[in-house]
Amino acid sequence: MTNSIFKVLRAGMNTTFQDEGRFGLQHLGVPTSGCMDHKSFTVANALVGNKKKYGVIEFAYQGPLLKLFKGKTKIAVTGNVYFKIINSNNITIDGECNRSYDLNEGDSIDILATDKSAYGYMSVEGGFKIESFFNSVSTLVKARIGPNNGSKITLEDKITTNKNRKNENNFKASILPENSNTIRVLKGPQYDFFSEKSKKLFFSQLYKISNLTDRMGMRLEGQTLKNIVNTNIRSEGITKGAIQVPADGQPIILLTDCPTIGGYPKIANIITADYDLLVQKIPGTNISFKCIDLEEAEELYKKKNYNISKIIKDIKEIN
């Protein structure tokens, strides 16, 4: 036996393999897809000692129940997640996020739910044995692209790791929670399509995240914005983080699996540094937008990147 095999005893709601995303195919209509929360993804790999950014299991709200029926492996769960580890002699322990655990043959991991957040991640030491398409193992369910025939992970699936556990130590990361409901943005290319009153409203009102939110987009509910120029523009390339406002005046934030082309005016764009924070917000949450300038956005990205590097550098061995 050189690798481990999990059996899926419960799939969860939206469980897929994801990595950093698939780049270089936007001109052929292929969205980048990839992990929603890049920070949690990165830390998940680091906790199991992966130098490479391997594909991980991403889940939303309810996660999977996986039983390791062959081999031995090391896992880590990141995000804000309730989970239990049930070992072969039926002793159950409450799982702790942002640390690694050893799983042995017969052990199970039951990822019950994400807590006040949308996405969680599970990594394994050495990565999963999954098929890559254009240098990425990200799954795009809508177009059936990626591992597992481009499908969500389903009941009875077998999930194989690249190798068995070698490292006998476990590790822990310390991550400060980010709770702000203020999301920072830059003005969008069609900002001036909106009335002065609507521009003010956009930055002053609270927006409620609607239930119609998934990996493609996040719909917001608030007072209607008024477009005084044109409610449609010539279809053009779009990108995640763009805030489109269709004719009904309710914004839609484009997310990781968004189409490659769109024809609605864009009032603003989420700064890259705040993207992970945004995608973890659940429907019903009230958020607001704050306008900053490009220089500040670039500075905040550097700061965020530095923080992630620091979290990884400060990962400690558990005795």
Binding site: F133, E236, K266
Partner: protein, 229 residues
Amino acid sequence: MLKKLNNIGDSAIVCDFGEEVNQTINNEVIKLFHYVRKQVELGNIEGILNCAPSYNKLIINFDLQKTNLSNISDFINLAQSKKLNYIKDKKHWIIPICYDFEIDLNNISKELKLDKEEIINIHINSTFFIYMIGFVPGHPFMGDLDSKLFLNRLKTPRVKVPAGSVGIVEKFCNIYPYESPGGWNIIGRTPIKLFNNKDNLKPSLLSPGDTIKFKSISKEEFNNFINDK
């Protein structure tokens, strides 16, 4: 001619070639697109993640860890001072189409006050230029259709349009690669698969800048084609 550069957030830029949509302008967009891809391939520019042409614009996404808006703007402005050429040959495709599915043909015929035969005749004799591929994988936006066939989008988009459906709106024609919602007027269906998710070299049959002519087939030929696959 490139008219202006706009940032879309902190990690994307749109090169805007003006409001008009025609093949001359789109050719300029595609030239710049090929130039950018070539420079990425040669390693002359770092941090570009994606680059995609639309009718009159080119969007470039970049990795803030490796570059920034100012570097990419300089790179594009430098490109503008050079004479850009096509790097690859444009391909011409003959795509089979069956007009016998009749989803919208009768309505179109009434709306345009043209016989079905006339509509088919105009469509089959048109050479279509691919302005862009996108929205979903492999989906071509083509033009230009004879003004006799100009139509608006459906008032209420369909929840489901079958894969392979060929639609028209204004001077544009499209092919739906997957079963999906859609608001275009459907005049026929092709058995050709536009996107192969197992092909790691060339997953999309068509590329921006290619041209297409349709070839009429019967329902029987359509079914044989599907069964042979």
